[in-house]
Amino acid sequence: MDMIDVQHLTKWYGPVLAVDDISFRVRQGRVMGFLGPNGAGKSTTLKIITCFLPASAGTVTVNGLDVLSDSLAVRRQIGYMPESVPLYPEMRVREYLTFRASLRDIPARQRAVCRQCWLTAPEDMTRRRLGELSRGYKQRVGLAEVLLHNPPVLVLDEPTIGLDPAQIRAMRELVRELGREHTVILSSHILAEVEQTCDDIIIIAGGRLVADGTPAELRRRVVGPSRVLTEIHGAAPEAIAQAVRALPGVQNVQASPHNAWTRLDVQGAGETDPREGIFHLAKDQGWALRELRRATGSLEDFFVQITYEQSMRQDREAG
């Protein structure tokens, strides 16, 4: 079932086109990563989904409810943590959570404030003023607030920005845990993060959707299905490349000398794995083999590449 359905979403800020005809769906119980360079239109899209901004064109429905005509009902289903987690600096943590609970119609007795306060532990933190909290604690308060009414949909805009490595790891684990019960959309411009926490990834650049799929699918598109890196010593680079190219299932080989060693970048066809063949070849020829591994190219290259292409295309269109 589609929890969030965005169709042909377009948003103009005056003469500036921020989001350009984006369509995607998020199924229930999935964690969706919204990826793009700064200024790509991520936050704008999230603000439209959460009913903060109106769309210029296109429709957005959350759990079957339209964000324009059923705004209040949609807002009841969503927990939204804006980028940089704005809080009232003069309020105390518990005060703030109680205030937000009352805006969400959570009766005093059922308020999960106390239960959710584990997020803001240690206990004495609940009495601190929001203005004096560190970045990490602000983030926790923001999350506790978002979870107050246990919404089916969570929208987190850059949830890990400004956190230290330990906090980032904790946040990732939390998001993954939340993904079991909730539908989560999170935005980020850091690929590694989205790769580790999300079931689906959408990449946008310059307001356009440029790629979508699971992390594995996207990686296959970058690295190719089977690519092997190896380093061999014992013969001239051309001779080694020639022999490897002759192996079954090998499509292309690029050789580069590495001191006395020859570094090979082997591209296999389809789902074949040429590693075993390379090992036997080296053994038979008496060559030394010091590296033989499958390339696990990160999405980083892909990301940089497609966002770069997108900006080039826009420059061409503008020019």
Binding site: F52, P54, R75, P82, F99, S102, L103, E145
Partner: protein, 249 residues
Amino acid sequence: MKKMLSIARREMAGYVYSPLAYVVGALFLCVCGFKFAPPPAFWAGSREAFILVPHQQASLRPLFEMMGLAMTVAAPLLTMRLLSDEVRSGTIETLLTAPVTDTQIILGKFLGVLGFYLMLLVGTLVFLVGMLLFATPDMGVAAMGYLGMILLGSAFLAVGVFASTLTRYQLLSAVVAIGILSIFALLMGAVSAHTAEPWNEIAANLNAMTYLKHFARGLFDSRGLVFFLALTGGFLFLSVKMLESRRWR
């Protein structure tokens, strides 16, 4: 209703925490308190401008007129942060994405600042108590004067709330509100004094200070009641529309 009151309570607590509110409150009381000073020797204006004039009966009227005038500046200083600050700090995002209507937000904020204003008015009872110690002020005048101040206050604060929806800069919103309030508090008086029919008539009817004077004299001015309530309702309505406008802009 409950959500509106939660917002109002949060705003009132905000004033209690904020140093600005105390400074504004203290200055408000100080300025009004000057009316108790004896008129200086060089004072050539009306003797009615002061409360304690030698050989004359003490009157509360100058006090209420001064309070009304002081509100022209005090009200904008109190209301300027209501929405401007939310927009500047970004908390407006969390507020508008909560299941709360724009009307609830505006009314909640208005009630919050009105609550603080009423606390301020309670503070001015010091003056009344001071007078009670030495004389017998006319309690009817006092009651009507305070009714007039509550009405004028709510109208002025509504103007301030509206100005606060216009901009993210607190100072700018205060200046705009002072500008609008000066029209009703000062400009209309000048216009009615220096123009002919029908303008002087229209201006006189839009002069908030005339209505306050009637209340300060101990009269129940039904035209004043309608004027202040209409001003309150009108500017609160405009505030809601301004806040709504961000949903279709």
